[in-house]
């Protein structure tokens, strides 16, 4: 047994209102720089829908993740090591910018500069890639709230897998939101695809990071990740990905997306797992067995033997305590309501989801029946095959069994709690119908519905005694020490890597003093309104100020 610790997340999809706050705050924190205009480490997709980048889940097309060879061995779906190197000069599976979307801004200055004329001047969209006029035809959230889905949703790769035809007439469809970040996989195919070995998994907390000093821009990780959560910064020529906000996690704070989540639906905690069993579990023959196989890799942090082994492996006592209190462990292993996203990619993802009951509840409510009645809800879960099968395609490689079980638990919780809320006697037969005790059911309700900040986020700080030297707490560095870090001769990314906080500081300064719209002459200041933080004025918004005024 080789015990390792992993920082993991669970999201409760029933509570997501699709507000995109998480995406916007994440972008503000991490990807509001030029070169990453199109990058959303956190994005929220409407499902059914194409996702971002478009149809990323179609692995026959994009070849991300792992597959089993005939002899049952793990192999990168994109090809073995030799093939990977032979296709390095031009990556055949790299999504083009159009699969994400071509980022743009508007030439707002025409609104104020235009001479008096009969018609109101309009601000035209300008591409942030080419600087030219752009016809906006797609973006990261084009099909938000099923907008335009009659035209596009049939291209959703997950819909193609379920037998019944899904209709997109307004009354008959179902919908939910799927917020996504990097999965910080136990068996990351991005790292395995990286020719330089620049992507690594941190031994302490399992966070998967790109070493910016070792990345050589081979852009193989982008196609290697089946979730398409590594992005190519087209200015610096280096890969970037979700960092699980490690500078915050190291000091015990939740990620930005979790901290700012309006629905308070994200849970962060530790999972202990047996590193020796990962490969074997990922090689499970049956796709539908992967969910259980991954659960078997997790260790019970209260088991004395696990504790002993963990201590032997150098995991600190307060980390083991945190693992015992981990809400993520409770949701995945104790209540078994959280499921992995696309276990069939065999990367052993570590951001799990509680599937939404709301598509079912809505249908029942629309019929005028009581949507908090156990009989009605259970019958609806049985009858509504389309949403359930669709969820199963996302979370269990198509096996409806586990999804059914989770939805029943959520339905039972709804009914059981209604009695309590109305002051009636709780009905013990309801939890029993889903194999839970009354106490467990109430505890699960507490965790899902009313858990406070410190119950949702159980994050042991990393070695607080070193904290002053950690990157974001760089009390020893003053911003002024860092020059622009830009040697345009070698390309924009050249120079010494700049700490993130310093980079943001400089960008803000650039932004407040820059005049141009998207011109290459001021690449570092190129922002669109979405990136704008409300301070100063975004470039192009107002006529240029005189240098001395």
């Amino acid at each position: 047994m080789k015990v390792m610790a992993q920082m993991a997340m669970v999201m409760n999809l029933d509570k997501c209102i699709g507000c995109h706050t998480c995406s916007v705050t994440c972008k503000q924190a991490w990807t509001n720089r030029s070169g990453t205009e199109y990058v959303w480490f956190n994005n929220v997709e409407t499902r059914p829908g194409l996702g971002y980048p478009r149809t990323y889940e179609d692995q026959e097309k994009w070849q991300g993740g792992w597959e089993l060879t005939k002899r049952g061995r793990m192999k990168l779906k994109g090809g073995g090591r030799l093939k990977n190197l032979m296709t390095i000069f031009s990556n055949p599976k790299l999504p083009s910018i159009n699969e994400y979307y071509e980022p743009w801004t508007y030439d707002y200055s025409t609104l104020t500069d235009a001479p008096a004329q009969e018609h109101t001047p309009v601000a035209r969209p300008k591409s942030l890639i080419s600087g030219k006029d752009l016809k906006i035809e797609w973006s990261a959230n084009w099909d938000d709230d099923l907008g335009g889905s009659t035209a596009t949703a049939h291209l959703d790769p997950m819909l193609a897998k379920i037998a019944d035809k899904v209709k997109f007439e307004f009354e008959q469809t179902f919908m939910f939101y799927l917020p996504r970040i990097c999965e910080h996989c136990l068996n990351p195919s991005c790292a395995a695809s990286c020719p330089s070995g620049a992507i690594y998994k941190r031994a302490e907390d399992g966070i998967v990071l790109v070493d910016q000093d070792r990345c050589r821009g081979w852009r193989k990780c982008v196609s290697g990740c089946p979730y398409k959560k590594v992005y190519f910064n087209h200015r610096t020529g280096k890969a970037e990905k979700c960092t699980f906000c490690f500078p915050r996690i190291e000091v015990g704070l939740p990620t930005v997306c979790a901290e700012t989540c309006v629905g308070r639906l994200r849970y962060i905690g530790l999972m202990l797992y047996d590193a020796d069993k990962v490969l074997e579990a990922a090689s499970t023959t049956d796709d539908q067995g992967l969910y259980e196989a991954q659960r078997d890799v997790f260790l019970d942090p209260s088991d004395p033997e696990v504790i002993r082994e963990a201590e032997k492996a150098g995991i600190a006592r307060n980390w083991i305590d945190a693992a015992q209190r981990s809400p993520v462990y409770a949701l995945i292993n104790t209540y078994k309501v959280a499921l992995p996203l696309h276990p069939e990619y065999r990367t052993m993802p570590m951001v799990w989801y509680i599937p939404p009951l709301s598509p079912v509840v809505e249908v029942v409510a629309e019929t005028g029946e009581d949507a908090e009645n156990k009989g009605n809800l259970f019958a609806a879960i049985d009858a509504l095959r389309i949403p359930v099968e669709y969820l199963a395609e996302l979370f269990t490689a198509g096996d409806v069994g586990p999804v059914d079980a989770v939805l029943r638990k959520l339905a039972a919780m709804r009914c059981y709690l209604r009695d309590i809320n109305l002051g009636r006697d709780p009905d013990a037969s309801i939890p029993a119908a889903v194999g839970m005790s009354e106490e467990d059911m109430y505890d699960m309700y507490r965790l899902l519905a009313i858990a406070k900040y410190d119950e949702r986020y159980v994050i042991p700080p990393a070695h607080a005694e070193q904290a002053h030297a950690l990157e974001e707490l760089s009390t020893e560095c003053s911003v002024s020490e860092y020059g622009g870090g830009q040697h345009d001769l070698f390309g924009e990314g050249s120079g010494v890597p700049t700490p993130i906080a310093v980079e943001n500081f400089q960008m803000l300064q650039d932004r407040q003093t820059s005049d141009s719209l998207s011109g290459p002459e001021n690449k570092s200041g190129r922002v669109n309104l979405l990136n704008w933080d409300g301070k100063g004025s975004p470039p192009g918004m107002f006529p240029p100020k005189d240098a001395d005024s």
Partner: protein, 242 residues
């Protein structure tokens, strides 16, 4: 004059090449990348880049054999002059044509595709100018010298190659080069110019050719480097307490 051109200049270029790479690696690891432009444009790159690179690998291989392996060695293993010549010319021509075609596509792409053009640095342009001249002169030497035999046959294995080995052995003999046809002289000189530029261009990516990938384990685990937390060293006077 030939001393200067074929001894002093090459050594200066070589020194720049070596020291430049050390400097760049030390101070600009972050800028050490291919700066791939595939995100902007894929259709032309898909053809151009593999053509160029595979062709170039052939060319580099050819140069290694042609320049570094003395004629006496190939004679010793019984490869006749004629056989060597045919293989070298055919192979060289094939690799050369691939390289030229690929490079033409890449340069055309750099110039005409808007986003690629605006991501092109001054250094890229200088680099392509040198690269193109070197490659075209090299092709010319093969075609004019070995096939059309304009200006008489020239056996570079008895001239340029010997000079090159003497150069690498730090015992240079400039007279050999001075006797070579102008095409070869120019090819060598511009190539040394390219070497001097090399560390300051995107060509540094060549030295990161990821051969280690074939043998390393798939998943890399790394501990947080406690000796160097964050992206910079602790300042003088600050001790960590942990």
């Amino acid at each position: 004059m030939s001393e200067f051109l074929f001894v002093v200049v090459p050594y200066l270029c070589l020194a720049t090449f070596v020291v430049g790479h050390l400097w760049r690696y030390r101070y600009d690891k972050f800028g050490w990348t291919t700066r791939s432009s595939q995100l902007y444009e894929n259709r032309l790159l898909r053809i151009g880049s593999p053509l160029f690179h595979f062709g170039l690998l052939g060319v580099v291989g050819g140069h290694i054999i042609g320049l570094l392996v003395p004629e006496s060695w190939t004679d010793a293993v019984g490869i006749s002059e004629r056989m060597y010549h045919v293989v070298a010319v055919v192979g060289g021509l094939l690799a050369g044509l691939m390289t030229v075609a690929g490079m033409a596509i890449l340069i055309y792409r750099r110039r005409t595709v808007g986003p690629v053009f605006s991501a092109t640095t001054v250094m890229d342009k200088v680099m392509y100018a040198f690269l193109a001249v070197v490659i075209v002169l090299g092709m010319w030497n093969t075609i004019a010298g070995s096939i059309l035999t304009i200006g008489g046959e020239y056996d570079y294995r008895e001239g340029v190659s010997v000079w090159y080995r003497s150069f690498l052995a730090f015992n240079p003999d400039a007279t050999l080069m001075a006797a070579a046809p102008l095409g070869f002289q120019l090819h060598a000189l511009v190539a040394f110019g390219l070497f001097a530029l090399w560390p300051f261009t995107r060509l540094v990516h060549v030295f990161s050719a990821p051969l280690g990938y074939l043998t390393r384990p798939y998943i890399v685990y790394r501990s947080r480097d406690d000796s160097r937390l964050g992206s910079h060293r602790p300042r003088r006077g600050w001790d960590r307490t942990g």
